[in-house]
Each structure stands twice: as structure tokens, then as C-alpha cells.
């Protein structure tokens, strides 16, 4: 544009071209925003994703309860003394993603293990009380997890994540989705 012989004020032209382009680009971004945002979780999904309270009393020792929180499967495992001991004794060499059992449970509540229930490989639902260490095994590609939800056999790359949760009512129930008892939402 600057070599246009009829253009006696090239710098002013350049400015106008660029300014117009910038306004146009900003408009396109602003126009795209509602559509991108509409793809995200909607208000109903977010509301349904509020924390859930689970009563622990009906879950007998040795049982694994399944609950859904935010559409994601959560296992609540009432571990036996033997299972807790096994988790504590598991050598680091048997772990693919080493982590202490004590970091995966709440202090004073070692009998309760709360973990997400989908395999960390590609998301299949795990089968309880299976595998070499009696934790979980994956029906899809054979990954195994111990009684602390730590991966002991691939292809799963990482341990089962522990959701945020707190104990309520002196330990007879838990609230999944909050990291402290007085947190709202």
C-alpha cells in the first residue's frame, strides 16, 4: 500500500488498515467467545457437581461402595486390617508411581480409602479385590492397583487419584468435593 503513487499520506493509510484489522480481529474473538463458552459445563452440570455426602455406616469391612460425583465414579473402600497392613508393607520397588499409603488416606481413618474408580490408563472401570495385591485390576489392558489404589502393574501410568473429601459427624460419613468441613460449594 505504501508504494501506491496516489497515496500522499502512506503512514495514515497504514494506520487505518491496521486499526481496522485489529478491530475486526477483536470482533471475531468476541463473537467466538459465547460459542466456546457454551461448550463448557453448563449451570445445571455445575450445580449437579456440588459436593455429595455419603453415609459410611452401611459399608461393611471389606466392602467397596461406588458413588458418582460429578458423573465420575468414586470407590469408597472399607479396608480390613490385613488390607491396610498390605498397603503399608508394599515395597517401593513394586510401585510404578511410588507414594506413601499415609498420604492417600486421612489420618485416624486408615480404614477408609476414597479414590476415583476409572483406570488411569484409558478409563475403564476397575474390578475390586482382584490382581496380585488384592486391590483392583483393569479388565481392559490388565493394569493392577493395590489396596491403596497405587498402580503396581502397567500400562496405567499413575495411581488412582484421591478426590477432595472430609469426614463429617465424627467419622460416620464423608463429603466428597470439599477440602475442609466448613467449605461451601
Amino acid at each position: 500500500m505504501t508504494d501506491n503513487p496516489h497515496d500522499d499520506n502512506p503512514r495514515r493509510r497504514d494506520f487505518l488498515y491496521i486499526a481496522t484489522g485489529v478491530v475486526g480481529a477483536a470482533g471475531v474473538c468476541a463473537g467466538a467467545w459465547p460459542f466456546i463458552s457454551a461448550l463448557g459445563p453448563d449451570a445445571e452440570t455445575i450445580a449437579n457437581g456440588a459436593p455429595v455426602d455419603v453415609n459410611l455406616e452401611p459399608i461393611a469391612e471389606g466392602q467397596i461402595a461406588k458413588v458418582l460425583w460429578r458423573g465420575r465414579l468414586v470407590f469408597i473402600r472399607h479396608r480390613t486390617a490385613e488390607e491396610i497392613q498390605k498397603a503399608k508393607d508394599l515395597p517401593v520397588s513394586a510401585q510404578l508411581d511410588p507414594q506413601e499409603d499415609s498420604l492417600r488416606v486421612k489420618e485416624g481413618h486408615e480404614e477408609w480409602l476414597v479414590v476415583f474408580g476409572n483406570c488411569t490408563h484409558l478409563g475403564c472401570v476397575l474390578l475390586g479385590h482382584e490382581g496380585q495385591h488384592g486391590g483392583w485390576s483393569c479388565p481392559c489392558h490388565g493394569s493392577e492397583f493395590d489396596t491403596s489404589g497405587r498402580v503396581t502393574r502397567g500400562p496405567a501410568p499413575s495411581n488412582l487419584p484421591v478426590p477432595d473429601y472430609v469426614f463429617l459427624d465424627g467419622g460416620t460419613s464423608i463429603r466428597i468435593g470439599v477440602s475442609s468441613p466448613d467449605q461451601t460449594v
Binding site: 459445563p41 465414579l73 490388565g142
Partner: protein, 444 residues
């Protein structure tokens, strides 16, 4: 390319009036009637037409399914069963659509293998080839979405496994996943948007088909000899020669398709998809539809999730680079015995990968084989895993480094001087000495 086709001159005044304003009839005439194809192309060149027919069948049957289908986790499965049981001929239409996808893929595989065998990806057809690869990706996406929206047990498993790809993306994975799913996991919003996309993508495919045919009509068809058109004598007009040949194959494929639709409607599917989806249990054994078999095995053969995902998509994506990986000036594998040998081993590796998708492949492969050989333990999951890894390695090794090396070192056999010469050389052998005109009658 030089254009050898006949021009269309409308004589009717009304048609001429239209033609002067919008030359659409002339476009149709020059594209599908007068268009010249190499006179030696064989039945491998008819699968493009089969693909077109299958796309139309999918769109029509899909439209009718859409009139009964209600997306959403609470309604999807029931509405599919409702189509099967209550809609007049609903079971037939659904069988046509579900099996139609299979035949769509069969045609696509033949079409792609044809291109690889006869070197149709080489100059000047690189863009035509790449557009084809894009279409194949869209087809795979469409079929995956369609399978997911039935919302049976296997649908849910497929949706969970494939969408975990988003989570594997570094840094933004979690957000990307939530925006793709419309929630924190595969759920109601996911099924609804999958349906919207399943409806849309086939029409995008129609758009790409037009681009594909446009690119084809710029560079013309390749042919079994792999030499380019030089004179009009190398060609025949599309109508009637190619159209009728296409219709023969369309007829054969539709015959087999109809047989499957009527008598084996569920043979290609998994019974477990007749159980409504339940996200708190997984099927004991997860396997995709047969046409995704090789890619599913590649995903499982590699223990590192991210590498597995890249390899799965790369298995198709690598086709894009074929025109540049293959350095040989000769196109057709007919004159490239070494390339042909390796190509056939590659096809074999893909078949093995597809077969392994029906097997469990767990554990440590090498040890399983040692146990099998030393102590006669049965061929188990571990053995299959090693096979899967070897077949995956061979699948990729064909493209690199085998393809560049072979294409540089191989000494091809002499190629025919022209398409016409090749066509005449391949005329059927006649027992009684032929009368001279046979050759001439081939001149269109």
C-alpha cells in the same frame, strides 16, 4: 493436464438460455459424461463409486433414524430399541445404517490400498491423496460418534476410552476435556453433542467429496500401468465405459451388503451393546468395531498412554507423507517387485493388528513366549501382546525406513511406453487368431 474430452454444445434454446447464465449442465456433462479416464483402469478403480453410494445410503438411513432417535443418556438407548421394535421397518433401517458403516469402511480400505499399490499418491496427485486421508479421518470420527450415541455398554466404553485422549494433552488437558465433554465426565451433554456432530460430519464429508473429485478432474485418474495420459487414444469417456463398470461393482457390493443387512444384521456388532450404558461397570472385554481393530491394537501395544495415542492417530496420519517418503519415479507396484513385496507384508501386518483387536493383550510378551516354548504353556495374552508390538513395529517400519530405502535402491522393471500400449498388451487372449479390428474397436 491436457483436456481430451468432447465439449457440450446445447441445441435447445431454453437450455442454452440457462447455460449462458449458469453453466451447471455443462459442468455435469464434462465431469460425469465426457470426462476421459485411462482406458486400462481395472476393477480396483470402482471403489470410489462404491464409497459415494455408501455415503448416500448412510445419509438417507441416518435421516430416518434421526426421526426416531432421542439423544441423551436417559433416552438414547430406549429410543434406539424403540426404532428397532416399533417403527415400521425400523429394524431394517437401523441394520442398513449400522452395517452400512462397515461396508463404507470396506470400500474405503480397498480404495486406499488401490492407491498405495498403484502409486496414486505420487505427483501430481499429492493433494488428491491428502484430501482422501482427511476424509478418512472424518469418516472414522463419524463412525465413532455414531457408535457412541447408541449409548449401550460398548458405546460408553468407546466414548470413555477415546475421549481420555483429551486428558492426555499436557497442561490444558483437564480443561480441554471438560469443554469437549460438556461436564466432568462422559455424560448427558456429551451424548447430545456427539449426536449433533454425528449429524453434521457426513455433510462435511459431502463437501470434501466435491473437493476430492475436483482435484481428481484436474490431474486425471492414475491407472494400473502408472504412466500418465498422453494422447486421446489413451482414454475412454466416463459414460458409458466407466459408469457401467462402476455399476457392476456397486451391484456386487450392494448384493453382499443386502445379504448381511437381511440375514446377518448383528453379526458384525457386539452383543454387549444391547445392554444400556452403565458408567459404573465396564464390559469384561472391550473391542471396537472391526474397522477400528488395527488402530485399537496399536493403542494397546504401546504401554505409554501418550505414545500409544500418538501412534494410533499416526497410523493413519503417516499416509499423508507417503508421496515424499517414496522417492521412486515409477508409480505402479506392477513394475516394482521389491516395493510390492514389502507392501504386501504391510497389508499382512495390518490384518494381524485387526485380528489381535479381538484378543486380550496383557502382560509381558517375551516371557510369555519363552514359557510357551520351554514349558508348553498355552499361547496367552502375553504372547498376543508381543505379536501386537511386532506388528505395530512392522506397520510403521514400512513407511519409515523401508519405503525411502526401497524406493532409492530398487531397480524397477521397464514400464509401458503408453497407456494404450499397456491396454493392448492386456487384451484378452483369443484362441482363434484374432481378426485385426479388435484393437481398433478399443479406440472408443
Amino acid at each position: 493436464m491436457q483436456d481430451f474430452s468432447d465439449k457440450w454444445v446445447p441445441t435447445n434454446r431454453v437450455i442454452k438460455w440457462i447455460e449462458d447464465r449458469l453453466p451447471i449442465l455443462g459442468l455435469i456433462y464434462s465431469s460425469f459424461i465426457a470426462f476421459r479416464v485411462p482406458r486400462n483402469i481395472n476393477y480396483w478403480w470402482t471403489f470410489g463409486a462404491v464409497l459415494l453410494v455408501m455415503l448416500v445410503i448412510q445419509i438417507i438411513t441416518g435421516l430416518f433414524l434421526a426421526m426416531g432417535y432421542v439423544p441423551g443418556t436417559a433416552t438414547a438407548f430406549d429410543s434406539v430399541v424403540h426404532i428397532d421394535r416399533n417403527v415400521n421397518y425400523g429394524e431394517l433401517i437401523r441394520s442398513m445404517h449400522a452395517n452400512g458403516a462397515s461396508f463404507f469402511f470396506i470400500a474405503a480400505y480397498f480404495h486406499i490400498l488401490r492407491g498405495m499399490y498403484y502409486g496414486s499418491y505420487k505427483a501430481p496427485r499429492e493433494i488428491l491423496w491428502i484430501v482422501g486421508v482427511i476424509m478418512y479421518f472424518i469418516m472414522m470420527g463419524t463412525a465413532f460418534l455414531g457408535y457412541s450415541i447408541v449409548w449401550g455398554q460398548m458405546s460408553a466404553a468407546a466414548a470413555t476410552v477415546i475421549t481420555s485422549v483429551f486428558k492426555a494433552v499436557p497442561l490444558v488437558g483437564e480443561t480441554l476435556y471438560e469443554y469437549a465433554m460438556g461436564g466432568y465426565a462422559v455424560g448427558n451433554p456429551t451424548v447430545i453433542r456427539f449426536y449433533a456432530l454425528h449429524f453434521l460430519l457426513p455433510f462435511i464429508l459431502v463437501g470434501f467429496t466435491i473437493i476430492h473429485v475436483w482435484a481428481l478432474h484436474v490431474v486425471a485418474n492414475n491407472n494400473p500401468a502408472g504412466v500418465e495420459i498422453r494422447t486421446r487414444r489413451d482414454t475412454l469417456p466416463f459414460w458409458p465405459y466407466m459408469i457401467l463398470k462402476d455399476l457392476v461393482m456397486v451391484g456386487i457390493v450392494l448384493f453382499i451388503y443386502a445379504f448381511v443387512v437381511f440375514f446377518l444384521p448383528r453379526a458384525l456388532g457386539h452383543a454387549i451393546n444391547y445392554i444400556p450404558a452403565d458408567l459404573t461397570v465396564s464390559p469384561d472385554h472391550i473391542a471396537p468395531e472391526w474397522y477400528f481393530g488395527p488402530f485399537f491394537t496399536i493403542l494397546r501395544a504401546i504401554d505409554n498412554t501418550m505414545v500409544g495415542i500418538i501412534a494410533m492417530f499416526g497410523a493413519v496420519g503417516i499416509l499423508v507423507f507417503m508421496p515424499w517418503l517414496d522417492r521412486s519415479p515409477v508409480k505402479s507396484a506392477r513394475y516394482r517387485p521389491v516395493y510390492r513385496f514389502f507392501f504386501l507384508t504391510w497389508v499382512f501386518s495390518a490384518l494381524v493388528l485387526g485380528w489381535l483387536a479381538t484378543k486380550s493383550t496383557d502382560g509381558s510378551g517375551v516371557f510369555a513366549w519363552i514359557a510357551h516354548i520351554v514349558s508348553g504353556s498355552p499361547v496367552d495374552e502375553g504372547c498376543y501382546k508381543l505379536l501386537a508390538q511386532l506388528a505395530t513395529a512392522w506397520y510403521f517400519a514400512f513407511f519409515f525406513p523401508i519405503l525411502p530405502i526401497v524406493s532409492l535402491l530398487e531397480k524397477p522393471k521397464p514400464v509401458p511406453a503408453s497407456i494404450a500400449e499397456d491396454a493392448v498388451a492386456h487384451l484378452p487372449k483369443v484362441k482363434t487368431p484374432p481378426q485385426a479390428p479388435i484393437v481398433q474397436s478399443q479406440q472408443d
